[in-house]
Symmetry: D2
């Protein structure tokens, strides 16, 4: 059933699809309705195979069913559903229609609809994660590592509360995201591996499969093993929801890391700061009326996508609740869950593209630092004075900074001129003195820690 | 650009579209990307008309532009955007391409992109509300009114905490939704009328339009008047966000009313309660393995849709924040706002269809009431005793109910046998006695209030 | 029951209480448990008065009850509740204990617990709004109006996407909040007026009151009239929830306006921007290790409070759902609703204090504008060229801005040197030319609109 | 500073404190302001100890500081903060006031405020988890295991969509919560172990500590080791937020499991179902006007607490974002995070108390099952027919169920009378036939799986 893209209602199916077809087509292999139905068919096929292995039906029957499962198409299932008003019954009818009367009964044998749907869901999220989500996250992680390493010694003023604080390096600032994204890659990966299926029947007690097998749990495990899945620790009509809840928590908390990075970068792009920039194409228009503008719109976009998808965690938590052996109030909402992953992957992809081309203006970073470097030195002065037993170092320095603001003299000058402080300064080590006289050297272990974090995460994540 | 529906990612663009094409096609007239672009073109056309009225350009120029605006199609704009990387610049280019060089400059004249987009957004939400949302809500309201009136005298046990309480009528129970939905119809209607546009330029200070007009605010008002809109009380680059926030609050709080109704009805459908039922079609399948099941799946679906869309209010609140004269972090998220309205309207439509055919089992309602009617009478007994100055009516009745549970005698029996209570009972009015002896008459003003509410809302909402 | 403050668990009951005792004590008059119980007693007293008016009991009985209601204290009710396990039954026992046996039965007569609790809730939110919330909001509004007026002509660069755009005035930027906060004051005020009570009994059908009155709705209205409340349009055991939901939407959407203002101001305080500042006390410490820091911590605090309270709207929406005539799943959550108002008022109060002392650095604003003013002029140039029928004004200007960046020449210079543009420039009006040559005059109607908005809101809100 | 409890604003500090003092006092040891300050003092003390170990100061100095840290009290710190307007500077002043001038400089040496606060936060959440949260969760888990084992063979009808489905056992239904709560205990436990501290200075680059140590990371690790904590993988001014975000996800997803259990039980308590009940005390009042009511109010309360606290996850996600090396917009909101844990523990505790005394009405369960057992048998009939190659088993059974509804004959009767089905029935195994004739035996592996899950979780969690 063909339809004009621009008649679609979701931005995922028009605007964002059009702007990134390759990625969205890749995602559609797991998350379109077409994909969902094909995953359900895979589960039905796996079931048939195990029925044959166990002698319930002949290998030929299984073969017929598997073959049929490869042929059924969504449009056909939907047409059938108009009659049945039940999606899996429709799917089963479509398979049965293609097989001999001997094979028909073994289609969907002993299972309930949700056995098929929940197993298909686990499988498609897991495979999408392995094939798209994690590779995309790793790609971004690699770029962040490269950026952090490259800029590991680039002096930048540290900022707390938007105010200049003590210095660090831009590489160290980026290492934050190496670490936080790295940790989220592990979280998402573990949670995806834990997604589980079920072949346990209408209320999860193996009522139907127990009619034929003495070991229905083993039967369930076998069917799922065909698909590379493990059975849920418990299921009633549905798989216990926490596997998927944990997975989406992984995705959404990773999205938060992206949003923070986006915010950091876009603020660094403020006209008055200007430390980084997004590379622009020659024909690109910044604003319809202000042709000179260079907006950090990709970073704003990522933040905006986070605002759209983050609150959907509420739906996941609400969907943990299903009455007794199940109500269907998680059904429609469950169909929207893939959108969260899609939104996230699109944001990762965009972030990768813009971070890859991030222009770092080292000179501007230096200028910004220089504008306050004399005040920045307040911290080491205070600490060194304190270490030398100055009775009230914090207050002494605070008063000097006020004096500096009044007189225009630098803090270093005032410190050096201050007779009361002289005996303390005489006791400093050469390294300490060097830092006092060169505020730009007051960067602590920024460079070393950047290296160490890049090494660590490359190793933990197997990035070359 | 044609594409297979089943490759779409959002359930709104495959499953729910397929299951309700008529409605979704109607919604697409306001909320598809196609519609959005056409609404933007309407704003550009209105602008041209006012420029001509004010003599900035000739009527012929305006005519050219208006005509061009009627011809531009989304696919073309998207193609152009690949070059410009800017959607409204692309739109403007597409219009300009179609007009004479004399007319070109007056396309988009003095406006900023968001003037066009925000005005188009206000307009499409407003028109969708008037043409679809409100009519759909009113249709459901009419059905609820008819149901409440029809069942106004149908005895039903009142339930608090899932426990039988004192009786009422099923019509009175439905009148709850007549009132709550009625109030939400007014809320949504008012909020839609308040959606506003802007023609105030890049930072909202009428910088550009002031180059040509001494009364740029009046110029703005004129352009918007062409579209049936009012200007925002304040705008910077964007319209102040509270107009849309209030509107979506109206939608989401109305969705909560639907969700509550859905919950009420599906619990009344529980096997053990069975007071209402969803009419089933002959070929419909209840469950793939349990062919006898009749599930309240439409009501479950409505609840599920509420769980999906309700949390998105968080996005609206987060999008109230836009730095200085605007950042773009509300842009992508803003593109998903129509989905909330779509999800809501789809739920209203579904609710309408199933409530219209709701089967009410009056006999079962009576049976359920009868099962506890002897205990229900505890309340009036206690109150009447109290009114007659019994020193501790509440405790006296509580002890009798415990005795009733032990002995199996009815509360009425125990009360009548109780010598201590006799002098009190003798003082009751005939009406009071009648109720004590006929618990089913203890329904207060249920019937009258039902009538009154139906009358009131029919009048307030202009329903025949 | 006395207890050390620092053993309290909620920051509202230790840290924020300590830092603003006057305000929190004022709020406790409506929102402490003490206040809640006293409001419930007011409802019980109003009920007794109306019973006497209607002759159900004697005036002396009503008088006894009213007097008792003035004496009951929370500690006593809680002690009683340990026995009854029911808060309102405990309250009633405490009242009854104080009155004659003749009066006892008329305590709580014909009502259900929620009649008392929901009416008390409506009343305390309404009175808190009239006595604290609105006065606090109006105080902030007045300060914003004064600030906007004072700075109406203070040149500031407009910023979109954190980038310099065309100029406006700082007063105009503040007028945004005059308008948005003004609109929220009206929203909160209207919603508070709409809070409703109920005296309709256990399931809302007036079952009990109908035993004694032919006009139970009028009886309900009378009791509520004593309290200055109207009855809910519909109630079952509880008042229909939308009145309170709308009210809290008003509060939370107003909180969003504060959060946006806080963000704007704290970014303007960035070291590199420095256009405004929070006045600091002499002994105040900016940072424990960086004594020179001046952090915008009050604005950060307001944003943080918004993050804490805004998501609680989800609870309000979830509490719209109550099964059948009521379940109690909105009871505990309902007890936390006042916190939202408290958090909001505390934020308004803090904002008022810091905005009152906001230091505006007009010189720095000018410097910031000057740094890009040559590029800012791109917009009017483009628009004026277009108006004069330049065939491709946007592209022409875009190329000139690129040239300007390369050559270091100002855009004005390049424009003036450009032969192709000369014939167009010759056609400009004097006013237009003046703006082109004085970018700081390109502020549109910023000043006038600021005045107009301040006038409008002072009038609408009755601010002198 | 003493204060009347009933003047407190948060229900956690009045109503819920009063109703469960023992538990809330225990929680106050970690989560009151008093506790927070004491934990901060522990971090300051640990720091002093390591400074002495490393020879920066003498053991005597460290001893002085440690001793002072044991003496400082919150009231004093708050008084000091009135001057400093900075909580940690106030704390430091209070410590310094108690030590010799030789020791003063080594108080808080090289650290920034957040080093102390974030490490204290990690520590108090971790210790609260080990000492209260996990023990409470394990207690509930034990009760659920005991209940599941005891009722492992108690026949109950399975319910999907609120409709009777195939049977299971009540123990199996409870095993769902054994599994889901068990998994959440592991999640919370792991996340608590992962909570991390930091001693990395103002922007996380060890600027200050590098002035004195060549191995500042090892110095950080040593200080934290004193407290039983590990350093964050990365920190700027703050610990990377995902450790706490993951922990709260664990708590909130566990809360969802409670909420589901609460819903299940309260629906099973519906008057019409009546399969379980909450044991009532003799003096307890069910309703102020309906003395016979037995409401599932504890389960409703737990659901309500979940509605209150679940949405606060949004705050956690929003607080993942902190600009550059940190802004303070996570500060106020961060102070409310303990409330989530408190609300959860209170709900676990309540659940434990009511589940412990849960009354299971096995007879009523059997009656409910019996009411539909004839229809329930539809599933095994259909499956067995299918397995025997009946060409259209599903449809055949569906038609028979319709016939059964019309004629009043049981499905078994109709099946046995049906000539077309006879040849199929003859092929059934004895076990299969026994189930067909005894629907109550159609419970699959419910009993075995219950046992297995109880065994598994007892072992995994080390429960005796």
């Amino acid at each position: 059933m063909e339809r004009d893209l621009f008649l679609n209602l979701s931005p995922l199916d028009h605007r964002y699809y059009v702007s990134n077809r390759a990625l969205f087509n890749q995602l559609a292999e797991f998350f379109s309705e077409n994909a969902y139905i094909h995953y359900e068919l895979k589960v039905e096929a796996a079931l048939a195979n195990v029925l044959a292995k166990r002698g319930l039906c002949s290998p030929a029957v299984a073969c017929e069913i598997v073959h049929a499962c490869e042929q059924v198409e969504p449009a056909e299932v939907y047409q059938e559903e108009e009659k049945t008003k039940h999606n899996i019954r429709a799917l089963v009818n479509c398979i049965q229609r293609r097989v001999s009367s001997e094979a028909k009964p073994f289609v969907h044998f002993t299972t309930t609809s949700v056995d098929i749907m929940d197993s298909a869901t686990a499988l498609r999220f897991k495979e999408a994660t392995l094939q798209v989500v994690l590779p995309k996250m790793l790609e971004l992680e690699s770029i962040l590592i490269a950026l952090a390493r490259r800029e590991k010694a680039t002096l930048q003023v540290g900022r707390t509360h938007g105010q200049h604080a003590v210095p660090l390096t831009f590489g160290f600032a980026m290492a934050e995201y190496v670490s936080r994204l790295g940790s989220r890659i592990e979280t998402v990966s573990k949670a995806a591996q834990e997604l589980r299926g079920k072949i346990a029947g209408a209320v999860g007690a193996y009522n139907a499969s127990s009619l034929f097998f003495d070991d229905p749990l083993e039967f369930e495990a076998e069917v799922l093993r065909e698909l590379g899945l493990k059975p849920a620790n418990y299921s009633n009509q549905i798989v216990e929801p926490e596997y998927l809840t944990d997975y989406i928590h992984g995705i959404i908390s990773a999205f938060g890391v992206l949003a923070n990075l986006a915010d950091d970068i876009r603020h660094l792009q403020r006209t008055e700061i200007g430390e980084v920039g997004e590379a622009f194409e020659a024909t690109q228009v910044g604003s319809s009326t202000m042709p000179h503008k260079r907006n950090p719109w990709n970073f704003e976009h990522v933040k905006s996508m986070w605002k759209e998808f983050m609150p959907r965690m509420i739906t996941m938590y609400a969907d943990q609740i299903s009455e007794h052996q199940r109500d269907l109030t998680n059904s429609a909402s469950g169909r929207f869950v893939p959108e969260i992953v899609i939104g996230f992957v699109a944001a990762v992809d965009r972030m990768t593209r813009v971070m890859q081309k991030l222009v770092v203006d080292q000179e501007r970073m230096l200028q910004n630092f220089d504008s306050t470097k004399e005040m920045v030195i307040a911290e080491p002065i205070y600490i060194l004075l304190a270490s030398l037993n100055h009775p009230n170092a914090h207050e002494a320095v605070r008063l000097l900074t006020l004096e500096s603001q009044k007189t225009g003299k630098t803090l270093r000058q005032l410190v050096n001129e201050n007779e009361e402080l002289a005996p303390y300064l005489n006791k400093l080590t050469p390294k300490q003195l060097e830092i006092l006289n060169n505020p730009e050297k007051y960067i602590g272990h920024a460079e070393q820690k950047t290296e160490q974090l890049c090494d660590e995460w490359q190793q933990r994540l197997g990035i070359n």
